[in-house]
Amino acid sequence: MSSPGPSARPRTAARSRAGLVPVAVILLWAVVAALWPHLVPHDPALQDPTVRFRPPGPGHWLGTDQFGRDVLSRVLAGARPVLVVAPPATALGVLAGTAVGLISGTVRGWFDDIVMRVLDAVMVFPTVIAAVLFIALLGRSPLVVVLVVGAAFVPIVARSVRAATLVEREKPYVDAARLRGEPLPSLMVREILPNIRATVLVEATTRLGDAVFAAATLSFLGLGQPPGSPEWGAAVSDNRVWLQVAPWTVLAPALAIGSLVVAVALLSDALRHRLEAR
């Protein structure tokens, strides 16, 4: 650039203010998830055949669905199933993936080869089969979604942590630690782990967005939580046939999903920028 272009101007202030919007949206949903019993105008499960497919208006601000249930209440109550599932699934995937990737990348050799092949197989193993399997074994519950989503994350996280570990373990400070005889666990936990922190955090934030996405998708496929639960994905799936008759029954949960996943994605993107800038 031959002259200081617009890129020269610092944008940090504008950026950080823009970064507040996703945080606010996520916080809002978190509050809703925690307190919805106090916030909903109606019992989200209450069926009232006299008001089926009521369009949005007083009394039912987002209308009602085919059973005469209040859509607003269901959308509010639907925040909990997602938010109960996504963070633990992320935690599971990131913790297990980090452990596997760290060990595999530090130890290397045949152990690494075997682990990588197994991870490949898990990665290639279709998630839907896993979901069907876990549901068959454990029934429909948040735990199943956590397990399925978390397990699907393990190879992804493990790969990037392993890649970061391989880079890190080639660095002289690791050689220095080996030279002075640091034992393997200390090598991994003291020397390498703190320095691949950024990778782990980036994975965690990215996977959190993916977890919301995956939970919604599983729910859409009918592989989510027990029926009757006001999950957003299931609501979109169940009601999409009414799009012409009662579009609000689909659009409301769809927008709810959209707002949450987009907010998480934007936040994790902002965090990633921060971490990578370091």
């Binding site: 650039m1 031959s2 617009p6 890129s7 944008r11 092949r117 197994v118 490949d120 197989a121 898990v122 990665m123 290639v124 193993f125 279709p126 839907v128 089969i129 896993a130 069907v132 399997l133 068959a136 074994l137 967005g209 996405f213 919604a216 998708t217 859409f220 496929l221 994905g233 979109v236 799936s237 999409r240 799009l243 012409q244 579009p247 689909v250 769809a254 999903i257 959209g258 996943v261 987009v262 998480v264 994605a265 934007l266 993107d269």
Partner: protein
Amino acid sequence: MRTFLLRRLAAVPLTLAGVSILVFLATDVLPGDVGRTVLGREASAEAVALYNRQLGLDDPLWLRYGRWLGHFLTGDWGTSYTLREPVAALVGGRLVASLTLALFAFVLLVPVALGAGLVAGARHDTWLDRTISATGLALGATPEFVTGVVLLVVFSVQLRWFPVSAQAGPGDGPLAVLGHLFLPALSLVLLCTGYVARHVRASTIAVVDGGYVRAARLRGTPPARILYRHVLRNATVPATSALGVQLQFLLGGLVVVELLFNYPGLGALLLQSAVDRDVPTLQAAAMVLGLAYLTVTLLADIAYRLLDPRVRLAVAR
């Protein structure tokens, strides 16, 4: 390159063997009963038992696996437990369908994503960049069933521009087939664009702010020529792996779109056969998907190596 290829190729059967074992174990613990599924709940217990015996389902797990493996390796993929059709033909047809949709989506994706990424990268930190990046991010975060439903309602049900089903009629010409595939492909493109564009953007920025572009500017090269001679190739080559990831996703992650647009692809078959415990079909579908997945990974790596002279001639690893 040779050793690289050999190493990677050697890993493929190992991975697939792992997948097949996982699938077998999974189907073994799944509840349900093949004979009952095929004959219906009103069939007699004797008939069901007979059916299961004829399929050899009473044998121990390892025996069934060995038998399956032996047949599979010799090219005999067996007959679907439930549909009683040859699995090879069934899976083959679904694979062709999935590949068609995936490739169509991919063909739409590449120019859109590369274009968006290049523009965002070349104009990085302007409102244009922020708009493109945020849109890509938002669309990429929105599940395809949300975008798909909206597309369906607007373009198929309301405007009737495109058919509801992705599946073309028997006599349809290629253009009609693409018309059927357009909406599902579009919903996939919307999903994937952001991811690829982000990679292209990052590499574009690295290139634009990098040494040889600066050198070119200092030689007085006009901006358009810089973009065309230097930026285009260098910014897009690193995106091949991102594109590969997306192609993998397009091949394997289509269940939702296939259901939504009623497309007979591998994803739906996989879900169906898993639910039905139709082991031969499930295995073959998982193998084919796995193979496609690994092939794409390999192709992306090879493409990367071919496109980038630095790695093209370098030693493996």
